[in-house]
């Protein structure tokens, strides 16, 4: 309805604000539809935000990558584990999961990086790092891991 305020949730990973579903309540765990991050909903004076679930853990980046691939219909290939190892290395050295194939440690290169979130995989068949692939361009495609139910 025109004039009706749409509530949004701030994602601290991709910095996007996605639409809030009125069925959600504080403490619910939701998936950011832009980057795949698992977020625990918090209501703050300036609106809804999500706290990163499993922040800084290997589980966080594994779940984020799998959720992002599921949302977009992407797959991985045989480099998946090596690239995850690189992301975990970035987190150890530079305090977040930045693209392991780039020099810069800035929010726009938080994995999945901004160009990937903007559709690079659809255009080029893969992301800069060769982590996410379009189904028709991946040799030996590896589907996202099933949800763990956590």
């Amino acid at each position: 309805m025109i004039g009706q305020k749409v509530e949004r949730v701030h994602c601290p990973v991709c910095l996007a604000r996605f639409k809030y579903d009125p069925k959600w309540k504080e403490g619910d765990v939701v998936i950011c539809p832009i980057c795949g991050q698992k977020l625990k909903l918090e209501h703050k004076p300036d609106g809804w935000t999500g706290a990163r679930v499993d922040r800084g853990s290997d589980r966080e980046i594994r779940d984020r990558a799998d959720e992002f691939a599921r949302i977009r219909g992407y797959v991985f290939n045989d480099m998946k584990e090596e690239i995850l190892e690189g992301l975990i290395g970035k987190n150890k050295r530079f305090k977040d999961f930045y693209c392991p194939c780039r020099m810069m440690h800035v929010p726009e290169y938080q994995c999945p990086c901004k160009p990937t979130r903007a559709g690079d995989v659809d255009v080029n068949g893969k992301c800069y790092c060769g982590f996410f692939w379009r189904m028709d361009t991946a040799s030996n495609p590896v589907p996202p891991s099933p949800r763990t139910g956590r």
Binding site: E82, G86, K90, R102, M103
Partner: protein
């Protein structure tokens, strides 16, 4: 007097899986090389090396392998084999 043969150099990122594959390939073939992990250098050294990489390869990507006059950009086993006569 013969010129000293320069050691091959790998410019890499410490977290880059393709750089690791290149290094593993050289290690497996017992090739002696120098490795510069660019992301672990201080800012000044990093700028200098990045400028050098751009001049050599025309890009700012990793890994870059310098073998004499050959410049190999990205992990490319066919090019590595050719450059090292394997």
């Amino acid at each position: 007097m013969a010129a000293t043969k320069e050691k091959p150099t790998v410019y890499a990122l410490s977290t880059c899986p393709y750089c690791k594959r290149t290094r593993r390939f050289l290690d497996d073939h017992k090739i002696d090389y120098e490795c510069v992990e660019v992301d672990l250098l201080d800012d000044k050294a990093q700028d200098e090396v990045m400028d050098k990489i751009e001049k050599l390869s025309g890009k700012r990507v990793f890994p870059v392998v310098v073998v004499g006059k050959d410049i190999i950009v990205g992990h490319d086993e066919a090019k590595l084999k050719k450059a090292f006569h394997l």
